[in-house]
Amino acid sequence: MSQSYKIKSYCHIKAHEVSLNGKVIYANDSNTFSEFIKAAYKSEKTKYPKFFKMDNLSKLAFLAADVLLKNENFDPEVEQNIALVFSNKSSSLDTDRKHQETIQDPSNYYPSPAVFVYTLPNICIGEVSIKYKLNSENSFFIFDSLNARHLKIYSDILLSNKKADEVLCGWVDFEDDSHYEAFLYLVSLEGNTDHNEHEINKLYNI
């Protein structure tokens, strides 16, 4: 009989609000995503200067993961075997556009290395991995919308094959200031919510 897994906790960031396990823990009415995410990050009191160098997608993923993992009392100085399985719709398009702006004019061709390094969506996984010392399995999928079935099957395989002790997975999408969302959840042997397609969609749509 196959092992059944649980959703241990989840974090949602959208519309200038951060919620943890369904409860709003931070909100503000900033005009821009940049102002919001910076204020939300500072409210978490995480000291990590590299945060300010990240692109919007990585900031979004980093904050959601940080809120969730801190709540689980993971020590960032101790290596954990937590797989990361993220997905989104817009890939790294926001940063791709910024990079294009720097190379569009042949007479003013100065691509920024600091922008270019973020022109892949899975770089945000790397940022979380560096902070939390995760040398674990990771994947980034592109879907039109949250694909709970795929994420569920993929996470279960990682856990049942002992590739990871837990899986941090979900949706991290940044299109522009008005269209962004992070929904990450931790799949584990422990927890109160069954890990299935219905529950993932239910938590996502709260």
């Binding site: 945060f51 300010f52 160098k53 100065y110 691509p111 920024s112 290395p113 600091a114 390094v117």
Partner: protein, 85 residues
């Protein structure tokens, strides 16, 4: 030279996204990498692009950067000597 040093500090803070760092916090002889301002390898590449874009200086050998980007003093001295614009 003082105006150039001020300009370089403002560029570094703004373009390299140094949070909670002011111009007054950077001494002219502070190390920019390592234990100083803590800049990283991507920042070094940004500085190389900045030399080209703002001052018309092309570094053909990135290894030169180690000495040039040691501090605001060394950057200002190199730019003053080699600038094309």
């Amino acid at each position: 030279m003082d105006a150039l040093k001020q300009e370089l500090k403002e560029f570094i803070i703004e373009q390299l996204n140094l949070e909670d760092v002011n111009v007054e916090d950077i001494a002219n002889d502070d190390p920019l990498f390592g234990d100083g301002l803590g800049l990283d390898s991507i920042d070094a590449l940004e500085l190389i692009v900045m030399l080209d874009k703002n001052y018309g200086i092309k570094l053909t050998d990135p290894k030169q950067g180690r000495a040039i980007f040691e501090s605001i003093d060394t950057m200002a001295a190199y730019i003053t000597e080699h600038r094309a614009n």
